[in-house]
Symmetry: C2
Subunit: 130 residues, 2 copies
DNA sequence: CTTGCCCCTGACGCAAGCGGCAGGGGTTAC
DNA sequence: GTAACCCCTGCCGCTTGCGTCAGGGGCAAG
């Protein structure tokens, strides 16, 4: 299967697949004699995993840092963090993302509160530094 | 006062002042014979107002859209949204910002919940489209 | 007059995840 | 053989609020 069909099968675009490859989320696939990328069902599955994780709020760099573990998510009961099966799961990066999301949510919530207060009080307050 | 001193007095940098001017938040200031910008205390005060509003989460475009009202915030009891003194206060853009912040907070909260659930369930769920 | 600090304009860089275009070649069907 | 797609690489664009040169001139002190 060529890149267009593979991308369609995974619900995305050729551009995205090349991008994932460039960023190390996909291994460079086999090439036809004329240099065209050849994909099989396994890579399509992997792309689907990648897109699910991205949609969950993980970043490309998060995935790249654990790219060698992406395949595990396709077959096994995935991500299992119970019983700490070694230092090689996605648990660390997921925890880091959760923390980052919490921090961002807290920051925006604080901002929202200050902005609302600003309107209520007439803006006489000065936001605390940083 | 030249731009460096004015920027320092307002707690920012020359680059930021030129940027605000370029984006319409500051009126083009007087220039010395050799073309250097001349600022007075009124501009410095205005810059401080701008920085407070930016720190509150408003965007440069928010401020630019109401730039002609920025001066009011320096002297009068500012932003007063009670009694709707006309269509020219900051209330509309502040409300829009509050809504945008709420939407963003909701989005991140939803994302965080899905990511947490993903870890708990082993990732068998598929994020809803959109 | 020269040193040294400040100012000017104009333009690129950054972060994220691709979209889109340009220029050139492959592949399949009629 | 040729039309109609598809693919290749490489590169700019988008968004925010400036930071950071680069290249050239100003201004006060010694």
């Amino acid at each position: 299967m060529r890149i267009g069909d593979a991308a369609a099968a995974a619900g995305t675009t050729p551009r995205a697949l090349r991008f994932y490859e460039e960023r190390g989320l996909l291994h460079p696939p086999a090439r036809s004699a004329s240099g065209q990328r050849e994909y099989g069902p396994a890579e399509v599955a992997r792309v689907r995993v990648i897109r699910r994780l991205l949609a969950l709020g993980l970043t490309v760099d998060d995935l790249a840092s654990r790219a060698h573990r992406l395949d595990l998510l396709q077959q096994d009961p995935p991500v299992r963090c119970s019983g700490s099966p070694g230092p090689d799961t996605y648990a660390p990066v997921v925890h880091a993302r959760l923390a980052a999301l919490d921090a961002e949510i807290a920051r925006l919530t604080e901002l929202r509160a200050r902005l609302a207060r600003h309107m209520a009080t007439g803006g006489a307050d000065v936001p605390a530094g940083s």
